[in-house]
């Protein structure tokens, strides 16, 4: 085999590796050919071949770099999600014997964070799983949206009555461990319940229909869990104002400025839709005919589409 034939064969081999998707092997092969040619100054078309190899090396390196870039897990079909849920056996110690917890852990493992959080949230209502589920929710939020989202969720729980103080201490430790593991320098030991920072609305104001009334479940207070329906007083873009009568004591004590209202239903003359709202204001009316009543402002943050 002549020197030229040898180079041709090696170039062919490198291209074959590339065609097989073996990028590192192709790159290594091109590098070795380059070295080989550099030792042969009298080779015909030497510079042309070397410049072609340089172009190929650059392209392959870019492909490798792109491939190594961390990517978010794609959202998958319902069928694939069901298969994923079955992959964590109920017998695994981490699942505490619950197929539902196992399924949610599995979804988390596959990066299906939205669905996993939804399933963990359902499990918060079941005593044997609530602490684990809360920990997994924080874990999902850390991975998917970052530490601020996890801290913000913990703050929501602090201002909620869903967890006892003992449980909150355990969840706080779990959050601290997650932050430490992620290298986030933030001490959550002194974190107190407080209003959440007002989130931006994800809804285009022009797309919002006129809303007549809203329905939601009270998350705390004496009437916790009760569904409340209130008429809209006026609407400004994605902010709705509602008057809460002074007689509705359970509603007044169950809503505070800074609360997130999940699963809120909006009634418009032409459609009913659900979404998430944020209580941007809840203050007592101090004068006028509505004196003693409360003015509640709800900012529509998100509309659920399916």
């Amino acid at each position: 085999m002549t020197f030229g034939e040898k180079i041709k064969a090696l170039l062919q081999e490198a291209e074959l590796y590339r065609g097989q998707g073996l990028l590192n092997e192709a790159l290594e092969k091109f590098k070795s050919i380059e070295k080989f040619i550099q030792k042969a100054p009298k080779l015909k078309n030497r510079d042309k071949i070397l410049s072609k190899i340089a172009v190929k090396k650059k392209a392959i390196s870019a492909e490798i770099k792109n491939f190594r870039k961390p990517k978010k897990a794609p959202r998958v079909s319902d069928k694939a999600r069901e298969l994923m849920k079955g992959m964590f056996e109920a017998g695994d110690p981490k699942t505490k014997g619950s197929a539902a917890l196992g399924g949610a852990i599995s979804l988390k493992g596959f990066g299906q964070y939205d669905k996993a959080i939804k399933e963990f949230t359902t499990l918060l209502a079941f005593d044997p799983f609530r602490l684990d589920a809360a920990g997994h929710i924080l874990d999902c939020l850390m991975d998917d949206s970052g530490p601020d989202a996890a801290i913000s969720r913990f703050k929501e729980w602090l201002s909620d009555t869903a967890f006892t103080s003992g449980e909150l201490d355990k969840i706080r430790s779990r959050l601290q461990a997650l932050l430490d593991k992620a290298g986030v320098k933030k001490d959550v030991s002194g974190l107190q319940a407080g209003p959440l920072p007002e989130p931006d609305s994800e809804v285009d104001e022009d797309d919002i229909l006129d809303i007549n009334s809203i329905r939601f479940k009270l998350a705390k207070g004496a009437q916790k869990g009760e569904e409340i329906e209130l008429d809209v007083n006026y609407q400004s873009g994605c902010v709705l104002n509602v008057i809460v009568s002074k007689k509705e004591k359970g509603v007044i004590e169950g809503i505070k400025t800074g609360d997130m209202m999940n699963d809120i239903v909006f009634y418009s003359p032409v459609a009913i839709f659900s979404g998430t709202g944020y209580v941007s204001d809840m203050t007592g009316i101090k004068s006028g005919p509505k004196k003693g009543d409360y003015s509640l402002s709800v900012k529509i943050i998100r509309i659920l589409t399916g």
Partner: protein, 204 residues
């Protein structure tokens, strides 16, 4: 772990295709999907990312019909081969009844085969399963590439390096053309059913 319902005489077992990235695991399933249409009982699910690399797994359900009075169903899965997806591989491996290890015959992939086999060994060990006890078949894939000028390892060398201790049945294959794909799967299913018979005496 296989689901065995003796009352309804049903067996459902899980076979996992394992091996390094780009070795041809998905290609095996694609060929089975195409060539064993009568046995395929549902759609093939594939979740791949850029560059045709499997990100999570592929899934293909098969129905083998009645064997010794039992309705036998098999679920075939592949794992993502790239090194960084270890935790996903562990998830997919959970409850596996048998493994088909697809080794890449290309000389340049020698080390990757060994790393992947070691990874399989470690992942099985973590779930309390010995690689020597689970039904296992080795497939030496891409044998056809010799004719295209790729330097391949000899099957002797591959046997010596990957199978000296395992002593698992081996098959030469070319998943792209389908050569050896059916033989590998048939042998693995045979071993799986024999293993389950030993454990659960389902054929009595």
């Amino acid at each position: 772990m296989a689901v065995i319902n003796l009352k309804n005489r049903e067996i459902e077992c899980k076979i996992v295709y394992y091996g390094p990235g780009r070795c041809g695991k998905t290609t095996n399933l694609e060929y089975i999907h195409k060539a064993f249409k009568r046995q395929v009982t549902g759609e093939m699910i594939s979740i791949d990312t850029d560059g045709d690399r499997t990100l999570f797994f592929d899934f293909l359900p098969l129905g083998l019909g009645k064997i010794k009075g039992c309705d036998v169903k098999v679920q075939l899965y592949t794992v993502p081969g790239q090194v960084q997806y270890r935790s996903t591989r562990k998830l997919v491996l959970k409850g596996a009844d048998a493994i088909i290890f697809v080794a890449d015959s290309l000389k340049v992939r020698r080390e990757k085969n060994m790393i992947s086999l070691k990874d399989l060994h470690g992942n099985l060990k973590e779930t309390g399963i010995s690689i020597l006890k689970i039904p296992l078949v080795l497939q030496f894939n891409k044998r056809d590439l010799a004719s295209k000028g790729f330097p391949l390892m000899s099957t002797d060398q591959m046997n010596k390096e990957l199978n000296r201790q395992l002593k698992a049945p081996t098959f030469e294959a070319s998943a792209l053309s389908g050569d050896g794909v059916g033989a590998t799967l048939t042998k693995c299913m045979k071993l799986t059913l024999q293993h389950l018979q030993k454990e659960f005496k389902w054929a009595q």
